[in-house]
């Protein structure tokens, strides 16, 4: 049904618009597909988003593919990041010269481009073997943004209409492209994203001389409005075409420019609130170019910082925290040693210990060691009887973190001090052993794996904290 709809609206446009010929000049056909795939994957790998979530769609029975709301990851690469989509560039030719980018004009790298046919064949053949959930297509800019966007649109519409691919498609919208093309493309894909690139306009000015902030925000706004309008139309006419049904995302590079965490989290918060974004992705800066404007990173990409930002991002989206609660002008950066939720709790010890059998859901969410899933189960479970620490463990509460902040029926699990230094020291024993976690995790795994970054994994083997004693009342 989905395609049925988009086809009817799209057919005539295509016959008119399909005047863009594939550029012979970009060297299509000179390299083998294997070589092209290597080059255009290598050129795409710094793009972070690889999620296939946000839209549930059954197959029409006439094509190939469907989508799952939670998304599915299909593999994990050697850096521990998830592989869900065939993430490639359409071409790595580019007329721009962004300083942080491997594909910038002034770099001497091998250039190539896929033909629409090649993109379709790769997607279909990977998909049917269950290698991927779909395609994530981005591109360098050939000739100008509209021209490039039109080529991408032609490839995607071929994939949808000729190959009848019904799996997940994510495309990057190129700032500066004709809004009409972006609109047409938005009716074919599931997710669109415009890269914010850098957290502030100033950072952008320094590192991406051909771009500016308002040029980036324009398509972002257009996509936001398109999504809102499309939802309204679908509510009235069930068969109206859907525009970017899986929502919009963006990404920014962390650590290439001097912004602090507070600025970054505030930008993310504004994007969620004012642009209705589904996701903001953070990508630890990897120094691929020699350039005096770029910071040297002797310790490698700032992975821990990226990790803290993702944790904070979760707190914004699912835990009801505001950016201003997590950080402030006076404390503009995250604690290196503690995750943002523990950090917050330690600064608000007056609220603890919290009675698990009575605390409102919103407050349970603020307890370190209690995740969204476990908070929900606590609320349901306690209606049917008073919960004990044992029950909490079964529910999935990470007691080794939560125990400092909760009590059951008036009793804490161990005799512990409600004291910042004491709790910090004990928490660090667990926290420090944790490796920096990945950024991009998909799927039901987002709720399961990524939330597990803090909370939802059952604590295996509980060890009483140093100096703690088993409290008789707990059992």
């Amino acid at each position: 049904m989905f395609y049925h709809v988009s086809m009817s609206t799209e057919k005539k446009e295509l016959s008119e618009k399909n005047t863009v010929k594939y550029p012979a000049a970009v060297g299509a056909g000179q390299l083998s597909v294997m070589e092209k795939l290597r080059i255009l994957t290598d050129a795409a790998k710094y793009d972070v988003a690889c999620t296939s979530s946000g839209v549930e769609r059954k197959g029409s029975g006439k094509g190939m593919g469907n989508t799952k709301f939670a998304g599915i990851c299909h593999s994990f690469s050697a850096d521990g990041r998830c592989i869900s989509l065939l993430k490639i560039l359409f071409t790595n030719y580019c007329i721009y010269d962004c300083r942080y980018c491997i594909n910038r004009k002034s770099n001497d790298v091998e250039r190539t481009a896929f033909t629409p046919e090649e993109i379709c064949e790769l997607t279909m053949n990977f998909y049917k073997r269950n290698y991927i959930e779909g395609l994530f297509l981005s591109s360098g800019i050939i000739r100008d943004p509209s021209y490039t966007m039109e080529l991408i649109c032609a490839a995607i519409s071929r994939l949808r209409r000729v190959y009848r691919f019904e799996g997940y498609i994510h495309v990057k919208a190129i700032p500066g492209a004709d809004p009409e093309i972006i609109y047409r493309l938005g009716l074919l894909v599931d997710r669109m994203s415009v890269n914010l690139e850098l957290p502030t306009a100033e950072g952008l000015r320094n590192l991406a001389p051909n771009k500016n902030r308002s040029m980036i925000l324009k398509p972002m706004r257009q996509i936001q409005n398109g999504i809102v309008n499309s939802k309204e139309e679908v509510a009235i006419y069930r068969n109206a075409p859907q525009f970017v049904p899986a929502g919009q995302s963006t990404q920014m590079i962390i650590g290439a420019t001097p912004e602090n965490d507070y600025q970054i989290v505030s930008v993310a918060e504004a994007l969620y609130q004012k642009f209705g974004l589904k996701r903001v992705f953070y990508s630890a800066f990897v120094r691929v170019n020699e350039d005096r404007m770029l910071p040297a990173l002797p310790g490698g990409p700032p992975l821990l910082r990226e990790h803290r930002l993702y944790q904070a991002d979760f707190l914004l989206r699912y835990y009801g925290f505001g950016a201003g609660e997590l950080l402030s002008e006076d404390r503009p950066n995250f604690n290196v040693l503690l995750d943002p939720k523990c950090d917050w709790a330690l600064r608000h010890l007056e609220l603890f210990p919290m009675e698990v059998n009575r605390a409102p859901y919103e407050m349970l969410l603020r307890v370190p060691g209690i995740g969204v899933k476990s908070a929900k189960r606590i609320v349901k479970g306690r209606r049917l009887g008073n919960l004990q620490f044992d029950d909490l463990k079964k529910i999935g509460v990470v007691l080794k973190r939560a125990l400092y902040f909760i009590c059951c029926n008036g009793k804490m699990m161990y005799r512990t001090k409600i004291d910042e230094d004491y709790i910090t020291r004990n928490l660090l024993d667990t926290e420090n052993k944790r490796p920096p976690q990945p950024d991009l995790i998909d799927g039901r795994e987002v709720t399961y794996r990524q939330l597990s970054l803090f909370d939802d994994v059952t604590a295996a083997g509980m060890v009483p904290p140093p100096g703690g004693q088993i409290c008789a009342g707990a059992r």
């Binding site: 073997r129 990409p301 992975l303 479970g381 029950d391 079964k394 976690q437």
Partner: protein, 263 residues
């Protein structure tokens, strides 16, 4: 009081038959459910205990069907689905956990809420089993790989710990309606078939024709090579973290994944 242990066959049908028989016994003896217990016959896993009598309960479609109807009607679809997942588990105590959860559920006022009763150890166990099975189903949806045979059939071999094969049918037949495919559980020698534009079905006790399964299409190796190259290239060297990769993708699954083939 002597306890009667109903020994069920391993299948969901078998366990539900056990539930039915135990129920009848509990009522007709007047001794109640405390008098009955369920075990699964997987060859060796139940220890004979003193003061117990053992009764075999051969799977019976009619009895199982009656239990299914009761469960769906009186406990609701969500609970029913959870119990089905739990019964697909390989844990020997699954039948008993499911039986006790049903007993608890049907005796509650808000029957459809039985899963929230986390303080009941059998309910908690069912929930845990369901979580394990659900996790494994999801990992098969992620990590299962088809290869294309000479005759165009897509073949995937899996070796799940729990009996999850049938839960893969709806997913893959919805996404690959025009393909002929076959998923084979090498541990249980069961297969799930899907014929182009038809419904899927399952077959038990089936040997896979290894010779046929080895004859891959001319393009198969090419796409495996392409995907392997893609997976290698997409990793960022300066972020390499094999431990993390292993945490998300345990070695256990990798033998069927072409991107991990040694080449």
């Amino acid at each position: 009081m002597e306890i009667v242990v109903f020994v069920c066959e391993e299948s969901i049908e078998g366990i539900l038959t056990g539930v039915y028989d135990a129920w009848v016994e509990a009522l007709s003896s007047g001794l109640g459910h405390a008098h009955c217990r369920l075990a699964v016959n997987n060859g060796n896993d139940y220890n004979l205990e003193l003061f117990c009598s053992y009764r075999d309960t051969p799977a019976d479609t009619v009895k199982a069907g009656k239990v299914i109807r009761t469960l769906r009607k009186r406990l609701g679809e969500e609970v029913y689905e959870c119990l089905c997942y739990a019964m697909a588990s390989r844990e020997p105590d699954r039948a008993e956990a499911v039986y006790r959860t049903i007993v608890a559920g049907l005796s509650m006022e808000q029957r459809y809420r039985v899963l929230d009763k986390v303080t009941d150890p059998h309910v908690a166990r069912c929930f845990e089993l369901k979580r394990n099975v659900g996790g494994e189903i999801h990992r098969e949806l992620e990590f299962l790989r088809f290869k294309e045979l000479e005759n165009g059939v897509l073949l995937a071999k899996i070796h799940p710990k729990n009996d999850v094969l049938m839960y893969l049918g709806p997913h893959f037949s919805d996404r690959l309606p025009s393909e002929n495919f076959l998923i084979y559980d090498t541990n249980r020698r069961k297969a799930l078939f899907h014929e182009r534009e038809k419904d899927w079905y399952m077959m038990d006790a089936l040997e896979l024709d290894e010779e046929m399964a080895g004859r891959i299409s001319t393009e198969e190796e090419y796409y495996q090579d392409l995907f392997r190259m893609f997976c290698r290239t997409i990793a960022i060297e300066s972020r390499e973290n094999r431990a993390l990769q292993r945490q998300f993708l345990p070695l256990y699954f990798r033998d069927v994944m072409p991107e991990f083939a040694k080449k």
